[in-house]
Amino acid sequence: MYSRTRSAVCKGIEGRDVFVETDISRGLPGIGIVGLASTMVMESRERIKSAIMNSGYEFPKGRITVNLTPASLRKNSSCLDLPIAIGILASEGCIRTRVAEDWGIIGELALDGRVLGVDGALPMMLHMKEAGLKGIIVPEDNRSDAELAGGGIYTVTSLRECAELFCMGPGKAAVFAEKRGMLTDGALSLAEIAADAEAKVMHAGKDFGDIAGQENAKRAVVIAAAGRHGLLMIGSPGCGKSMIAGRMGSIMPLMNEREMLETAIIRSVSGHGDDSRRLLLARPFRTPHHTIGRAGLIGGGSYPVPGEITLAHNGVLFLDEICEFNKDTIESLRIPMEEKTITHFRKGEAYSFPCNFQVIMAANPCPCGYLGDRDRECTCTQADLDRYRRKLSGPIIDRIDMRISMEKVRYDDLSGKKSGMDSADMRRQVTAAMEFAAARGQKVFNSEIADSDIDKYCRLGEEENRFMKRAYNAFGMSPRAYSRTVKVARTIADLDGSMDIGQAHLAEALNYRIQE
């Protein structure tokens, strides 16, 4: 007997259709799965068999052949457990099914017949929604993802429950599920989440007010946050670089709906799905350790998964102790930093991940950490310094919009706490600058202004042009350095509430670019 059910898998971070064909023929009992199934899918045989028997159904006697189409798509997900099990029950005649194509099913099975959550449920659900299926059945564990994907998705806890729903057909099932709370609500109220998220980031226990002194660094951070510019902080150990970076979350603008969905999809695929709805609008903040390898950073694996740069999509990638990173690892950031997307090729297929991240780096000025320090002497040799600086190559440095040197805070500043800006002040400035930019008619962050739009948004006056020409020649800037400096100046002007970029704005922007 033959049956066909419908499911989906993730290819990278995109959902793809998969049809599960099941045929039971005479022969020695066993399940054979074909259709480029990975080990994870092959192992489902044992789970399915136990789950079916422990759910009170009879396991069919005979040779079961399962075919996963399209045959050319590599499948690596335990989410096919449930559709295969349903397919087997349908083939056997255990459950009465109409044409199964109107239903999409995903879910992993436990041996006792429970349905477990799967990674990547969100993109799969969105994909199935697009296909206009009559019903989508997902694990109860993935309810938060299901709510993001919209209303009318069924959540189930066991194979038996799923089979029963499946038999009923869409009309009856909706009534039945409604009664038992198995249907998800419609889309979340964004305003509500936004208020929640705002409260959450503001009360995360990390406030810029904790940082005494360092007002120039805080100023730089405001500019970086308002325009999403990259930032490199250089300073002696303990001067507050990591503290500053760790508080970025409290002043970054919340994400909009599109960004939230993109980020939620990436979280879902990487298994970092967070149950709390509140975090949905907060920008991700990733802090990989400096021992991270290239695959961990930019993504990889034989079934490619997102790396840290993709997890930091729409958020911040903080690379602390940047000079301790492997050089090749840092260099691998070159193209993703420009392209804002990374493509991996595996077995003849391309996997693209978005990686529109804001990079924040922190480093010591030298290996011993005290070069240029007021009180302590640097013990590094020239060779040490050279080796250390080679870690940050020209191409990488050139791609970072802002660089600041930080000094240790003086004792007087330290004791006179709370004098400086706190997160609330800074957040207000950032928001005001962004609103100003929006009022100018610009829809993207200043760092993301396309090259073709530079003349439109960052027009310089005659005097400013002369000023920049002198700077360009005097500092040997590259065209990229030039355009990035102008974008930073645009952000500074926005913070100032000024339509035009003035010389003072350019000078401050240049100051962040030109460091020894």
Binding site: L28, P29, K61
Partner: protein, 110 residues
């Protein structure tokens, strides 16, 4: 152990009976080779059937036929090849079969 052996032998006797009743001619029983043993070799309509008999009491261990593992299948195939090399009877094709016998001995139930 004795009990289990008896179940197996009884099962094979039963299988022979059923096969004979269905028009099979039994060629060999318990044909032992150094690569494996064939329970029953029978013939019907020019086809030589190599029959593996599996007897199970109750279904708690799964279906009897599931006990014919890939390794066991390999042994049977080898043994069948061995038999065919010395076989004088003309045959058109061969068939590797499993004969399942399920008994239901429920102890202490009344």
């Amino acid at each position: 152990m004795r009990y289990k052996k008896n179940i197996g032998d009884t099962g094979e006797d039963l299988a022979v009976m059923v096969l004979e009743n269905n028009g099979y001619r039994i060629l060999e029983r318990n044909f032992g080779t150094k690569v494996g043993e064939l329970d029953i070799i029978a013939m019907k309509g020019g086809v030589i059937h190599f029959v593996e008999v599996k007897t199970r009491n109750g279904s708690i261990c799964g279906y009897p036929s599931e006990a014919v593992t890939p390794a066991k299948q390999r042994h049977i195939r080898k043994a069948a090849e061995y038999y065919l090399q010395g076989c004088r009877i003309p045959w058109s094709s061969i068939s590797l079969d499993v004969f399942e016998i399920m008994t239901d001995h429920i102890e202490n139930c009344m």
